[in-house]
Amino acid sequence: MEVLLSIAIGVLTACGVFLILRSRTFPVLLGLTLLSYAVNLFLFASGRLRIDAPPLIRAGASYADPLPQALVLTAIVIGFGMTAYLAILALRALSESGADHVDAHREP
């Protein structure tokens, strides 16, 4: 499981970085989404992987680390906020420059 998750994080990062480096706004948005998946999974994995041990207090159970989960939960929501803001920024740039290039002023 650990190896599989590491591969997943690696691939998500690679795809995210590649897309963020594109010249149009839309792939950058996609790339950011993928990269935040990778980062969230990485943060989550820092609490180690546990199966059938949700951090819900009940008699005689063992628990996964709740702290990374709390961190990641807010990270997911903030990540959405950030993606939304960038999306709107991209539209605004499109409306003002007429192009969806990330460097609007150097439109070919």
Partner: protein
């Protein structure tokens, strides 16, 4: 009154009130001048309040904590040296204020001038009163900056700007060296407090880092005091208005460097390195600048080089490093400040009256302004070291110290020879100033008709010249007590026996003085051939050389910036990722070697299938990013797989949140996608593609390795507390939710605030944003003309109450089971947005709340309010309470105040998502109406 408070009040008053003249200048120049004088006067009064204790031999300290963990406190010290300098700074400051009122043209409103002058004075007071060396450095830098503003006061003149820039570059560079030196000194002594450092002299001198520390600190002092070879900034700073020169270059700015030598002498002095570096620099500066001064035709240029020369003399005295030479150095600081301030002011009067300062044209002024001329002649005689004047006394002491200096036994004739030559040159340039300006025939082609200046413009000069005489004739009754305490504070030891008197009998120093006087007259008599010889020398132009180096650096900096900052986000991102890769690689390979053992949870077929789906989604989405709709769908698949991973790995809350966010993200992407230009993005060039693939490969590979390494490292959690305390302390069994709304509630509050800011910013960006609705998508397929398919809208309506019920349920159970404000908020907002999409604007506008700012405030107020409510019970912010409540029919259930906090979170999340998505949706309405108009 507590004397410590008084001490803090000295720089405190100056810093607090330095803007006063600027604020009062609308009431006229007089108001600004009075304000400046009042501020300096109060500082002087405070200084004098502390003087009796200093004369009684006390060192007064005051301390306010500032950044104690860095060893930086607002700690001040008033001892003899500080007192001497404070009196000079405030006293001459007052005279300069009066003088400047007459000197600057009547059109100048003066507020700006006095405010910068006061800021400078405040910083100078800070330097001389600092007990903490880091604090001293802060003030040191403020003097560099404010003197830049003062020198560049006439900023419309090219000369002023160049001169100011040069002064700032040189003294600022020296300040950097001083910073390094002080950090080393603090490291050696274990403290930045002077009391500790001055007592730790032996430890400092024996330390391996003594030499670099000394050199760095001396660099700071020498640049500030314009010692050779850093002297060239001072003559160029003469482009400042003359009151500024009179202040900065007599008593203050340039004296800060020698002050530092005096201050740190007990800690750093007493070694061969100190002796050779300090006295060598001083001697070279002394002779070189005295010789240069003789050849300057500009009055202020002559005075500038003579200032450098006298600073060299003081430096040499501190370098000679005998107790008596230190006393002489301190004494000469006083004397030079007095006669040089008066000479600069006299030069200003002449400039003001004649319109030029060229000594080849300004002649015969004695007839035209006899009083000013007499004053200037006395001050210049003091500068030359003529008996009965203060300059004579300290020069005699200097000559006495050069004779038979212990370090020079082998070549005992050298030092007296150097001193005598310097003395001759000083006599020669003083004589040149007096003879050329005040006698030497008639003036040549002056722009103005000179006469005596206004009565009160002369008053400061009169007072200073009177001091020259009083100190010169009655040294024991005037300056002796101040000199005693200042010298004792400099030496940090009892002062040696010495006699301040005019007559010591026919001894060697007196012979040297007489020789200097005679030699000086002789040199001046030879001025004709000397000037001719000087005129054929290749010109030395430190200013143009400096400018050339400066421009070279500026051009190089511009080229670097042009490479890094070319306005391309792609370039920035590539640089950013490369840098992160470097940092990550360095951390990865240099990290501590721990025993690694990769745990292996059983994977099962489902895990392989999930990984396959994830790879398919992410790589497919990446490869096909030009097919936007397909890419969004594939990325959506990835999001779902991530949610499944959370389910499998015991994180139900994350899974719920991820699912809800995924829905929102897809809606968002689809809305954005609609407006994008229909034409496909062009393909990247091969080299760009190669670079990006390489970066992506290393980033992905690196993250994979780091994850593996992290998972294999030994694991120690800090979550035990949360698991233990969730039920007894937080009243909930869902630990993740309890952490969010209770233990780490403050973090969550910050996060929802960020979300609220996102909503507000998006709202502002969407305001009046108009986009044209495209007629077909990037694949050429036309968009459906049917706005709201009947089937969809009918299906969705009954879903709303159902989803809302679910979200209420999720919210309520959040404290104990997976759920809570974040998830419930996301579910509610998705439900509302889906309504919106399916039924259109008109339907939704009637039902959706539109006042997003109000709702955001409500949510934040709920969260903050419940936090503050705990203050009412005498608890810290955001302390929660919980208890059991029983209601009829429903039974007993647990209620925590954290729920109200969670409600705030819920309201903010709903508002954010609805604002953003419905705002985007509303764009389409505007786009279509635009189309209709067209």
């Amino acid at each position: 009154m507590n004397s410590n408070l008084l001490l803090l009040a000295i720089p405190g008053t100056a810093f607090a009130a330095f803007l006063l003249p600027l604020l009062l200048q609308r009431f006229g120049r007089v108001a600004a001048t009075l304000a400046a004088a009042a501020v300096i006067g109060s500082c002087l009064a405070l200084v004098l309040q502390l003087a009796p204790a200093v004369f009684a031999g006390e060192t007064q300290l005051a301390r306010l904590s500032w950044l104690p963990i860095y060893g930086l406190d607002l700690s001040l010290r008033m001892d003899g040296l500080g007192l001497l300098f404070s009196v000079l700074i405030c006293g001459i400051g007052l005279l300069v204020v009066l003088y400047a009122f007459y000197y600057l043209p009547g059109s100048d409103r003066m507020g700006r001038f006095y405010s910068i002058l006061l800021l400078f004075m405040a910083a100078m007071l800070g330097i001389v009163l600092s007990e903490n060396l880091l604090l001293l450095l802060v003030f040191w830098e403020i003097t560099s900056l404010s003197s830049f503003l003062l020198v560049a006061y006439s900023h419309d003149k090219y000369e002023s700007r160049i001169g100011a820039r040069m002064a700032l570059a040189v003294t600022g560079g020296g300040g950097l060296a001083l910073l390094a030196g002080i950090l080393l000194l603090g490291h050696i002594a274990g403290s930045y407090e002077l009391s500790v450092i001055l007592a730790a002299g032996d430890q400092i001198r024996a330390h391996a880092l003594y030499a670099p520390t000394l050199i760095l600190i001396l660099l700071g002092a020498f640049t500030k005091s314009a010692q050779f070879p850093f002297h060239f900034w001072l003559p160029n700073a003469m482009s400042a208005p003359t009151p500024v020169s009179a202040y900065l270059h007599s008593a203050t700015m340039v004296k800060a460097g020698v002050f530092l030598l005096a201050r740190l002498h007990p800690a750093l002095g007493g070694t061969d390195a100190w002796f050779w570096l300090v006295s060598g620099t001083g001697a070279v500066t002394l002779v070189y600048s005295a010789a240069t001064a003789l050849f300057r035709h500009d009055i202020k240029g002559l005075l500038a080089y003579s200032t450098i020369s006298h600073l060299g003399l003081i430096t040499l005295l501190f370098g000679l490093d005998t107790p008596l030479s230190i006393v002489a150095g301190v004494f000469h600081i006083i004397n030079h400040a007095i006669f040089k301030a008066s000479l600069f002011m006299a030069a200003g009067v002449i400039d003001h009256e004649c319109g030029t300062r060229d000594m080849r044209r300004v002649n015969g002024m004695f007839k035209r302004m006899p009083i000013t001329a007499s004053l200037a002649i006395i001050a210049a005689s003091s500068m030359a070291g003529v008996p009965l004047l203060n300059g004579f006394l300290s020069k005699e002491m200097f000559f006495a110290e050069t004779v038979g200096h212990p370090q020079f036994e082998a070549i005992s004739w050298l030092l007296p020879l150097v001193a005598t030559i310097a003395g001759m040159l000083a006599v020669a340039y003083s004589l040149r100033f007096v003879h050329d300006v005040f006698f030497n025939g008639e003036p040549i082609d002056l722009p103005r008709q000179p006469h005596e200046p206004p009565r009160w413009m002369r008053a400061p000069i009169e007072l200073l010249v009177l001091l020259c005489l009083l100190v010169g004739v009655f040294p024991a009754w005037t300056v002796a007590p101040l000199l005693d305490v200042a010298a004792a504070a400099t030496l940090q030891a009892p002062i040696p026996a010495f006699e301040l008197a005019l007559w010591h009998g026919f001894n060697r120093p007196l012979m040297m003085s007489l020789l200097a006087l005679a030699g000086g007259v002789f040199i001046y008599a030879l001025r004709g051939p000397l000037f001719a010889w000087q005129a054929q020398l290749p010109p030395l132009r430190p200013r143009t050389a400096f400018e050339r180096v400066y421009r070279l650096f500026a051009a190089a900096a511009r080229r670097v910036v042009a490479v890094l900052d070319n306005g391309s986000l792609q370039r920035y991102n590539a640089l950013l990722f490369s840098f992160i890769l470097l940092l990550g690689g360095w951390a990865f390979f240099s990290g501590p070697a721990a025993t690694l053992r990769l745990p292996t949870q059983p994977a099962g077929e489902a895990a392989y299938i999930a990984l396959f789906a994830l790879l398919l989604g992410s790589m497919g989405g990446t490869l096909l990013y030009r097919k936007r709709l397909l890419a969004v769908t594939l990325v959506g698949v990835v999001g779902l797989v991530v949610a499944l991973i959370f389910v499998r790995l015991s994180a139900p809350d994350l899974a719920l949140t991820q699912l809800a966010v995924e829905t929102g993200t897809i809606i968002l992407m689809l809305l954005v996608l609609y407006y994008l230009p229909a034409r496909e993005a062009p393909r990247s060039s091969a080299s760009r593609l190669g670079r990006d693939l390489l970066l992506a490969f290393f980033a992905g590979g690196g993250m994979m390795l780091i994850t593996l390494k992290m998972l294999a490292a030994p694991f120690a959690t800090i979550s035990g507390f949360y698991l233990r305390e969730a039920v007894p302390g937080g009243g909930g069994t869902n630990v993740v939710n309890v952490i969010l709304v209770d233990f780490r509630g403050f973090d969550t509050l910050g996060e929802v605030t960020v979300l609220a800011m996102v909503a507000l910013a998006s709202h502002a960006l969407l305001e009046r944003l108009v986009l044209t609705a495209p007629s077909h998508d990037s694949d050429g397929r036309p968009w459906s003309s049917e706005a709201h398919p009947l089937f969809l809208s009918m299906l969705v309506r009954p879903l709303l109450p159902l989803t809302l019920t679910v979200s209420v349920y999720i919210f309520l159970r959040g404290h104990n089971l997976p759920g809570g404000g974040f998830v419930a908020g996301l579910i509610t907002s998705v439900a509302l947005v889906v309504q919106y999409l399916a039924n259109g604007n008109l339907f939704a506008q009637r039902r959706l709340p539109r006042n997003s700012a109000g709702l955001l405030s409500l949510g934040l107020l709920l969260a903050v309010g419940v936090g503050m409510a705990s203050w009412l019970f005498g608890r810290p912010f955001l302390t929660t309470a919980h208890g059991h409540v029983s209601l009829p029919l429903i039974g007993e259930f647990e209620l925590a105040s954290a729920m109200i906090f969670d409600l705030g979170v819920y309201v903010v999340v709903v508002t954010v998502v609805v604002t953003v998505l419905s705002g985007l949706g509303r764009l389409s309405e505007r786009a279509h109406s635009q189309e209709a108009v067209n």
